[in-house]
Amino acid sequence: MAAAVALELDRVSRRFATRGSGLFTAIEALAFSVRAGEFVSVVGPSGCGKSTILNLVAGLDRPSSGRVLLNGLPVTGPSTHVGFMLQKDLLLPWRSIARNVEFGLEARPMPRAERRARAQQELQRCRLSELADRYPFQLSGGQRQRAALARTLAIEPDIVLLDEPFSALDSQTKLLLQRSFAQTIAGAGITTLLITHDLVEAVSMSDRVLVMSERPGRIVEEIVVDLPHRDDPIARRPLPRAQDLMTHLFDALHLADRTDA
């Protein structure tokens, strides 16, 4: 029942040197953990340090104080157990979709044929097999994000970090893609940390929602979404309880804004 902790932030702060002599605190004594297989969303006002958290977990940045633990081990640099995905799909325009999906695998010693096979498998899971030989400019925004997910999952990460992956899409594509992501992620049983501005998205996709305050970013509320249909946001969304949670979140964010303003 109490699954192992996959990710833990232990009183993590991140300060940036500013132009002058001062220090700018982006996040302050942040503490939360994510269990293996859990889907956790982080919501909060713009500039509160959400992307900073993601960079710390991905090992692209170091905390100024505190520790980030992945499967109990401190993060000291990029790890092959972490996949991350941003609002920008970051597909390399000079590579075909299949070669883009292979990209992450090229960091490892792996025979080319095996890499191909892994990529094919991932493309199939993300329903992109027909587009394998196309180039990114020939894909729609939603297809591109699906390709980016395939690339992220191809390295078989233990945890994926998603930084507003749906925010650049139109609302219909967004709904379909959210469901597509939810199914894929639930099927693979991967631990997920989703950063989003969209409260509806947070409730309809996650097991738990963390609400952050204005900067310096802290967790001001934690909401457990104990609802069915985690693999189908479109089905979960209209549930009365889900609607309640969304309203509650909306208020929480508002309040958080006010106290810190």
Binding site: P78, W94, E106, A107
Partner: protein, 269 residues
């Protein structure tokens, strides 16, 4: 209905457009050549100032028979290609190295700017004094002329590379070498190729200046030789052939560019 009407209008169009433009260009060329043949004599301009088209053709045939024209063309062409290749190689390598080491770039950037502004062809006499009347001076001038636009373009590309793409590669635990070869290098291709296109045209200028100043081979030499004999037609012909070499080199780079950059959607006008 509409689709049918559209189809009727749309079908002949690309076909027409494909042929209409080159046809118009050819007609224009023919008009210019005809004017060149008949207007100067009509205005009483003597042949030794502006030779007629027919004179140029006759002179070209004579040069082919008596002046060993082919050897000169081959010499200039091969030297231009060699100088271009060396200049491009050095320029690109230096651009990537400087792009990877911001410290060195900051140290060297004032000198790079100064050298970029300096008229490189003016160094030619210096090189002739140092190396004598052989292939080296013109080759070095060409390398210098080609070097800078390519260096600057590559450096620019290294600066504007997508930080997030680089971070993505780093997040996949790629080594710095892998980040370079898999992200930075391919993403610099459009700039590198634009630099190569500029370099291809500059190479012909470099080689020509080198040949004008010394030596006894090449189309630049034929220009000074023709000048000494007051043979205007010979000068015109040499310039024409130099232009052809430049166009061929530019065309080759553009051909490579179209193949390498196939992944960039082309804007239809």
């Amino acid at each position: 209905m509409t689709s049918l009407a559209e189809a009727a209008v749309a079908t002949p169009r690309p076909w027409l457009r494909n042929l209409a433009l080159p046809a118009a260009s050819l007609v224009f060329a023919a008009l210019v050549l005809v004017a060149w043949e008949f207007v100067p004599p009509a205005l009483g301009v003597p042949k030794y100032i502006v030779p007629r088209v027919s004179d140029l053709l006759l002179e070209m045939a004579r040069m082919g028979r008596q002046e060993n024209l082919l050897a000169h063309v081959v010499s200039t062409g091969s030297m231009a290609v060699l100088g271009f290749a060396l200049g491009a190689l050095f320029g690109a390598v230096c651009g990537y190295l400087l792009g990877l080491s911001p410290l060195w770039e900051r140290v060297l950037s004032p000198y790079i700017l100064a050298l970029q502004i300096a008229p490189k062809v003016a160094f030619a006499p210096l090189f002739i004094m140092w190396f004598g009347y052989n292939a080296w001076p013109k080759l070095i001038v060409t390398v210098l002329v080609v070097f800078f636009p390519i260096l600057v373009n590559v450096l620019q590309a290294m600066h504007t590379a997508d930080r997030d793409q680089v971070n993505l590669a780093r997040a996949y635990s790629m080594s710095p070498a892998q980040v370079f070869w898999k992200v930075l290098f391919p993403s610099s291709m459009p700039s590198l190729l634009a630099g190569l296109r500029i370099g291809a045209t500059l190479a012909v200028i470099g080689i020509t200046v080198g040949e004008l100043l010394g030596g006894e081979v090449g189309l630049g030499y034929l220009i000074t030789f023709g000048e000494g004999q007051a043979n205007t037609a010979m000068v015109f012909n040499a310039i024409f052939l130099l232009t052809i070499i430049g166009i061929a080199m530019y065309g080759a780079v553009a051909w490579v560019e179209a193949r390498v950059l196939h992944y960039i959607p082309r804007v239809e006008h």
